[in-house]
Point group: C2
Chain length 358, copies 2
């Protein structure tokens, strides 16, 4: 059977601790040359929705020791509204029922068959937050207990859950632009993770005295600045421009998720549509070039790079763009759980395979 | 609804004439910059099946005027047996029920939603044969009526169907290595296409006096040689090494499906597994380098390249590796037909979309 899962089922089957373990395995396999990444593809064209473009994005990977390959496909209508004077990238939910389209397909490297098909949303934020938390695990002070969280959206929720797994977090201070959002966010997430959370009026107040600062916004411009950074602090980001370059440069140790993510060669044939150009400018600016040389998360996990050498070090983890090996590793656990507990829509594998030679 | 189709349903819904029309549209759109190709990904790793490797292959494209994007995924166990002294590439059907795994997903560029999911087999051979037939349409003599077909497998069947659409074919002479296969093939296909077909004992007899020679084997080594080629002949191939290089060089006009298919940069991270190396050697040999300069099928269709200038010209169409725009263009027609005739398994689109922000 090929298992079709929903996001709700995935949220039931996976917990953040499992995700962290699966991700550590994936990076160790990658470091040992046993996890393989496919070339990414991102193509952009016109769409009928006003002031928007259509983007089809694919990533893929294989982890032979787990016997799986994963393909993630995102099929998005992208718009770029200005909110509070800052430019944001917004995916417009135009599929029937006002929904988004992101799919992961998991294949067996032993038989070729499609094992599982599922929406990417829940796993997406768990693997992003999981990588951020692994960054903190290897870079933040052991005794870190106060966290500032910038952002109160979907990604921010997972960041709160994940950071609580790797440190004994006593308090999370949340800032986001809209008061209602940050208040609701704290009320909802705090009981889920059993950590005191409160909303702050501005970033400076949230960050002041924090041991760890996690940026998880959808802002295209800087939100965390050099002036807020204090000795001993660990800062992290999930998006190119969230942290001011001067703040990154102020860190004693900078680690990037995977420096190959700085290459934008996979943006091809975009008809000169501006979106791609903007991304290229952001990623390939000369200021950012030195980031190609920094260690990766895999280097931290294998011990070939040190995350922190003293209590007063400022450390910075750049969780730019994920890797498809995350979906393969977490997908492998998810598949075993769904199969064992008979959860999901179990469909005949014959529907997704064929008896003629392709 | 998201439509799930089977190969049998696709064979009912599509005919070769439609495919040829859809492909011509696709190449015109591509030439006008309105059809976009994603970077391909091919990744290879170990598998548990003896003397085999696992390969995950992805291609993608967008045709904005048709409102669709297509992703094709192949998840294959590859073995390389030697048959009749020649090396072949064989996909081993190891999915449940001894099946292969090749899927196409069609997305809307207007809403992002997945419109259709289907196995690639039937469309795969129709689009390969369709491109070969378009090559013949623009390159073979107008009065061509005798065809030699080398091969009697899945691809060869479609080649016979497609060539009969573009020329008034009176006879097809078939050669393949196993007598039984070629005899059965002729008996089966001849009534389907209403053309006299007969099996030949060797390639030389099949090719002698033919106006068009179509190679459609799965051989990794040469099957059509310089010595068989006569003035006025049109020759074509669907695989890198089927036609001897000297035979290609003997042609007055050589056209390649798409010269970008000569780049193998998408083979990455293959762990030094030999498969990839062999492919690289075949494709990137210095002898083949000049092929980068030859016109493409799109050039023929737009008229920017001439396929033939005299009755006695030898013409050669190299239908190496397909393009994902073929799946988008033919997929768009297929979707309209399946929807209009209510054919296939219509599943809730909610199963393949999500209400959380990916």
């Amino acid at each position: 059977m090929t298992i079709l899962l929903s996001n709700d089922e995935i949220a039931c089957l996976l917990n953040m601790k499992d995700v962290l373990e699966a991700l550590e395995t994936a990076y160790l396999e990658a470091a040992a040359g046993r996890a393989i990444l496919g070339t990414r593809a991102e193509i952009i064209t016109e769409t009928t929705h006003p002031e928007s473009v259509y983007q089809l994005k694919m990533m893929s990977s294989l982890i032979s020791s787990l016997g799986v390959g994963a393909v993630r496909i995102n099929s998005d209508i992208l718009s770029f509204p200005t909110v509070g004077g800052k430019k944001r990238r917004k995916k417009v939910p135009l599929a029937p029922g006002d929904r988004w389209t992101g799919l992961v397909l998991l294949f067996s490297t032993r038989t070729g068959e499609p094992l599982m098909i599922f929406p990417d949303g829940v796993m997406q934020r768990m693997r992003v937050a999981g990588a951020s938390a692994l960054g903190a695990k290897y870079m933040a002070r052991e005794d870190a207990k106060t966290v500032a969280l910038i952002g109160s959206g979907w990604q921010a929720g997972a960041q709160a859950m994940a950071i609580a797994v790797v440190r004994n977090v006593e308090q999370i201070r949340v800032y986001s632009m809209t008061r209602n959002n940050r208040d609701n966010f704290c009320q909802q997430i705090s009981p889920e993770i059993g950590v005191d959370m409160h909303a702050c009026e501005d970033i400076e107040n949230a960050v002041m005295g924090a041991d760890i600062v996690l940026c998880a916004t959808n802002s295209q411009s800087n939100v965390l600045f050099r002036k807020f950074i204090k000795p001993g602090m660990h800062i992290s980001t999930i998006r190119d421009n969230e942290i001011e370059l001067a703040a990154i440069k102020a860190a004693d140790h900078v680690v990037m998720h995977d420096s190959s993510s700085m290459d934008f060669d996979h943006y091809n044939n975009t008809h000169g549509i501006k979106v791609a150009d903007q991304k290229k400018e952001a990623g390939n600016s000369p200021d950012m070039a030195y980031l190609r040389e920094v260690p990766t998360l895999a280097d931290l996990i294998t011990g070939s790079a040190k995350g922190r050498t003293s209590e007063n070090d400022i450390t910075c983890f750049l969780n730019y763009r994920g890797l498809a090996i995350q979906f393969a590793a977490v997908g492998a656990i998810l598949y075993e759980r769904a199969k064992a507990r008979n959860i999901g829509n179990h469909m005949p594998t014959e529907w997704f395979t064929e008896d003629v030679l392709p």
